[in-house]
């Protein structure tokens, strides 16, 4: 019923999403993680979901990926409610989540194997994607023989290989050192911009700079219960390079975002 009145042009629509966890220690025996959470993503848009830790941004990502259920509101992808795992949504996790017993190549092939793609085609496609992420030389190595940055590139390749229309990232670079992080942010943009069709991306992060560098738009979240407090358009020209980071536009947006987040942290602390 409610789905019919919703906006048809959006790729992803979230309306009044609520998520409640049972929690014996909290008031009333439950903890509200998300409440009145609204977010739209147009097709081909790169949106970062930015917020303090514990604000529920990863929870929304899991709901969108179908890994968690929600307790109210609507989450739609292409106008259809999310029910269970949607294989059109590819997820890159913070802790890589690679299969440690499979080589980089076989990890990348996994999604294709599940889809019944024949062996030869699978290999060819995996080799191609590994080339895209610059890891051809590491194809036959196991995840634990790779550095953190390389592992995350394999995880990205694994998702790219089966070409989902939507990519979601759950703080993928948070565990990496600063140089590797900046390098991979650049790589991610290069890969995203070079794709045949622009994929719709939802990128969860708590780093302001990362959100600005990557996104078309930043959705800033409130402390718990989490909802989207403000949207900031990032009007920096693409393709973005390391020079973009030192531009005046970048600094202006950073100040703007920081102000919003600062208020949030103050309110959050005041409540406690």
């Amino acid at each position: 019923m409610s789905a019919q009145v919703l906006n048809r042009t959006a790729k992803i629509e979230a309306r009044n999403v609520a998520k409640i966890y049972p929690d014996a220690h909290a008031d009333g025996g439950f903890h509200t993680v998300l409440e009145d959470f609204d977010l739209d993503l147009r097709s081909g848009e790169f949106v970062s979901l930015l917020g303090p830790s514990g604000c529920g941004k990863s929870t929304f990502l899991n709901i969108l990926a179908g890994l968690e259920t929600y307790d109210g509101g609507d989450v739609l992808v292409d106008g259809r409610h999310v029910e269970g795992v949607n294989s059109d949504v590819g997820v890159v996790f913070q802790s890589y989540a690679l299969f440690p017993w499979l080589t980089a190549q076989k990890n990348v092939e996994a999604g294709l194997k599940i889809r019944g793609v024949p062996r030869a085609e699978r290999r060819e496609r995996a080799a191609e994607v590994l080339r895209t992420v610059g890891l051809s030389a590491a194809a036959n190595r196991l995840p634990h023989q790779l550095s953190g940055g390389m592992r995350q590139r394999v995880a990205i390749a694994r998702v790219l290989a089966y070409e989902p229309e939507i990519l979601v990232f759950d703080e993928p670079f948070a565990a990496l050192d600063a140089q590797t992080r900046e390098f991979l942010q650049g790589e991610l943009l290069r890969i995203w911009e070079s794709g045949r069709t622009r994929k719709t991306v939802l990128f969860v992060t708590h780093s302001i700079d990362e959100a600005i560098f990557l996104s078309d738009r930043i959705a800033v979240m409130t402390q718990s219960p989490g909802r989207v407090k403000d949207h900031i358009e990032v009007d920096l020209p693409r393709p973005r390079t390391s020079q973009s980071r030192s531009s005046t536009g970048f600094a202006r947006i950073r100040a703007q975002v920081a102000r919003i987040l600062e208020e949030e942290v103050h309110i959050g602390n005041g409540d406690d």
Binding site: V85, F99, G111, I114, R115, L142, R158, Y162
Partner: protein, 279 residues
């Protein structure tokens, strides 16, 4: 003269050659210690009989045991009894392996299953096998079925209990990432949970392999036509002490072989972990 040379090239004096470890010792270290331990054990065994501390009616000397073992091998009496025993152990162990892992993954990964099964499992997991022997004999007689069933029982529990725990230890995120890749239950079961939990299955599997022969000999002592338990029993009726120990030696050697096979299987199946763990 000597002092003059030292002063002329002080650098050479300062360099101390690193002490190189003895390559032979490094390579054969454990075998040397092992051989010494084994020799000591054999010497002690021989000594207690030779000094008359234990009557050779109860304990055969090492040389008599080996002699009885070799002649048993030569006249085919040991292989004739070991063959059926090995067959029972292998069949029973294999059945328990499949049942233990399949049920272990089911109970371990479906919480409702685990809750239902827990009290029953708690009751059975440590129940003495010997207490159950008469039950097996009553239901299945003293033929192959009851002997194999006893081996299955003895092997099933360690594999199953261990598998339930191992499955619980599989990282949630691996399963989630497989789900987002589009994997169904069967794929997750066979391609994610099984390989992820496999290294943790092995302690249970090795314990089960050791249990297999223990349980089997107990079952064979109840009766039957052929088997190592029966060989030992018959030798004891005939007061053939060396043959008793030859039978025990055969069981011991089989145990060593089984352990080596299990260690090899483990090394092979968890080879992706090399360099990841300290093993």
């Amino acid at each position: 003269m000597a002092t003059a040379t030292t002063e002329a090239v002080p650098a050479e004096v300062a360099i101390r050659r690193p002490k190189r470890p003895n390559a032979f010792l490094v390579k054969y270290d454990r075998y040397l210690y092992g051989a010494a331990g084994l020799l000591g054990f054999l010497a002690l065994w021989w000594l207690v009989i030779n000094r008359g501390l234990i009557d050779s009616l109860y304990l055969a000397t090492p040389q008599d045991t080996v002699k009885a073992f070799l002649s048993g091998l030569a006249d085919g009496s040991i292989p004739a009894d070991a063959g059926p025993s090995i067959q029972r152990a292998v069949i029973g162990f294999s059945l328990a392996l499949v049942a233990g892992i399949v049920l272990g993954i089911l109970v371990g990964s479906i919480p409702a299953f685990g809750k239902f099964a827990e009290p029953v499992l708690l009751f059975f997991r440590n129940l003495s096998l010997l207490a159950l022997l008469p039950v097996f004999v009553a239901f299945l007689g003293i033929d192959e079925e009851s002997k194999i069933a006893i081996v299955v029982w003895a092997c099933f529990w360690p594999i199953f209990i261990n598998a339930v725990g191992a499955v619980g230890g599989v990282e949630r995120i691996l399963i989630n990432s497989a789900r987002t890749l589009g994997a169904g239950r069967l794929y997750i079961f066979t391609q994610v949970v099984l390989p992820a939990a496999l290294p943790s299955f092995f302690p249970g599997i090795r314990l089960a392999a050791a249990n297999a022969f223990t349980a089997l000999v107990a079952a064979e002592l109840v009766g039957g036509a052929q088997g190592l338990g029966i060989y030992i029993n018959n030798a004891s009726y005939r007061m053939q002490t060396p043959q008793i120990y030859a039978g025990i030696l055969t069981l011991g050697l089989l145990g060593v072989l089984v352990n080596a096979l299990m260690a090899g299987a483990e090394r092979y199946l968890t080879r992706w972990q090399r360099g990841l763990t300290t093993r």
